[in-house]
Assembly symmetry: C2
Homo-oligomer: 309 residues x 2
């Protein structure tokens, strides 16, 4: 099993697709478990075009109900049905999304082959909304013109490993090892207590990836994204359009870089570009001026986050 | 002004998009007036990719509420809003479609810049539903698993022209010419009545294009498509899957060709292909065996119908 986080950019254009580009959607794989983040129109075509095994997706997260982030969802839900999917599909998103999906299925007289489980996301703080043996997913509020959430995908922290030196020195029983693995201390034959932390080794720090689209800059964003391995942040505009960005509850490249800098993230990935930009370099340079570890997302790009320790 | 009918195939794959293909949508131009027929997911991207001036579309027709025929509509409606469209947009389709659109706009808190006029289409016979100085559009019922309509686009018949020989011979007044143009007879100075048909020339027979997707074969289809210049007809399956076609209320290539032959159409254009076919030649040959003037539609294809007379 791969211990990493892999992100595939399926679309990163804001609002209106430019020739040859697609709207917001990403495949996020945490230790090989596949998640879909946002689902703009054409996402199913992108999944097919990139040869992605999209039957493996069991959880989809939708940031908000602007069309460029979810109009492709009903098509994907329907395609799963036509492909005779049997596994349940969980969709996390704004509560109003559930009715939008069910009314469209009713209009087509479609009763899905598989179970669609809808989980309404509404929170005013960072909150754990999903947990598996691979991953944790948190939701947190963004500040946009309609209710919007960011999502943070994190590797599940592995248990500490028993130190081989301790086994060699103390020759513990199987039961004792089980206790230590579960976090317990060890008591020697002479009654001496050895603390768990002294006979175990910590696993690498879990990787984390945070997705913030769409939002204007606000201070709490820093706390929500503190120390993540990589942050995908919208930058619809450059700083010359700061006022427009604020009025529309969007960010500039500088806003995104400020969050990255103050939250001390590992890497900043810019996305959700206004189709007015023929050359995105202006956005990249603006952000790098504040936070050098910045890259531009590109359609079809695969990013792999790996643990350094 | 071009006096022709031009069809651009934006997508012709059935149900699930195959790699690199798109779902049902066509731009139909009648004497330069642009209509959109069906609007599968990704249609706005296709319009952009083919460099089509889609702001010129003022009327959209939706055959039925299976997703592969209309899931791209809400995206296009939203894009027109973002592009600050001012001209009204008329959408003709199943009555339930109106609510599907408005609930999605409400969820995004979008109040459109332009007027969206929805016209519910429900008819059990061939009925004129649109008329302009260029075109007539008729709707007629198809037989599919949910209520579905075919549409026929026809050039508006031009008035008969005044014969120049009559003008040279009788030197009529301007008012007399107006009367003749309006269909009246001519009375000479000696009181002789010359019938309108003898002093006017008929305009070419109007071209017509009929779109039938999705439907199973039924006899009334022949009457609805009698004598059209070109017929686009679905052929989801080949004849070896006749039973499957019937059970799913779809047509085989033979069904489509039978309609074309019996309705004596000018040309048959096959489309709405199941993604199971790697090579569509089997469908073409099957249809040509019954109706030789058959072609396969192809994504990006532009077909121009021109008057022979």
């Amino acid at each position: 099993m791969n211990s990493n986080i892999k992100i595939t950019i399926l679309g990163n254009t804001a609002a209106i697709p430019k020739r040859g580009t697609h709207l917001s959607a990403q495949l996020i794989q945490v230790n090989n478990e596949s998640f879909l983040m946002d689902c703009g129109e054409g996402t199913q075509m992108q999944l097919i075009n990139y040869g992605i095994k999209y039957s493996k997706i069991e959880n989809i997260f939708i940031s908000h109900l602007h069309g460029d982030h979810f109009f492709g969802l009903i098509g994907l839900v329907s395609t799963y049905h036509l492909l005779r999917r049997e596994k349940p599909l969980r969709i996390y998103g704004p509560p109003a999304l559930e009715k939008l999906l069910t009314t469209q299925l009713e209009a087509a007289n479609t009763s899905l082959n598989y179970k669609l489980i809808f989980i309404g996301v509404e929170t005013d703080s960072k909150k754990l909304i999903y947990e598996s043996s691979n991953a944790l997913v948190y939701a947190f509020p963004l500040e946009h013109s309609i209710p919007t959430h960011g999502y943070c995908f994190e590797q599940k922290q592995k248990a500490r490993k028993v130190n081989p030196d301790f086994i060699n020195e103390h020759n513990p029983s199987i039961n004792d090892i089980k206790k230590v693995k579960a976090g317990g201390d060890y008591v020697t034959s002479t009654g001496e207590v050895i603390l768990n932390k002294d006979i175990t080794i910590s696993s690498p720090r879990p990787l984390s990836y945070s997705y913030c689209s769409d939002t204007k800059y606000f201070e709490k964003l820093i706390e929500y994204n503190m120390g993540v391995s990589a942050l995908y942040h919208e930058c619809t505009f450059d700083i010359s359009l700061q006022k427009k960005a604020e009025a529309r509850f969007h960010s500039t490249a500088s806003d995104a870089a400020k969050v990255a800098l103050k939250a001390n993230v590992g890497q900043l990935i810019l996305g959700h570009f206004s189709s007015r930009y023929e050359d995105l370099e202006v956005l990249l340079l603006e952000a790098q001026d504040i936070f050098p570890h910045t890259i531009l997302s590109e359609e079809g790009m695969e990013l792999v986050l790996e643990s350094g320790s």
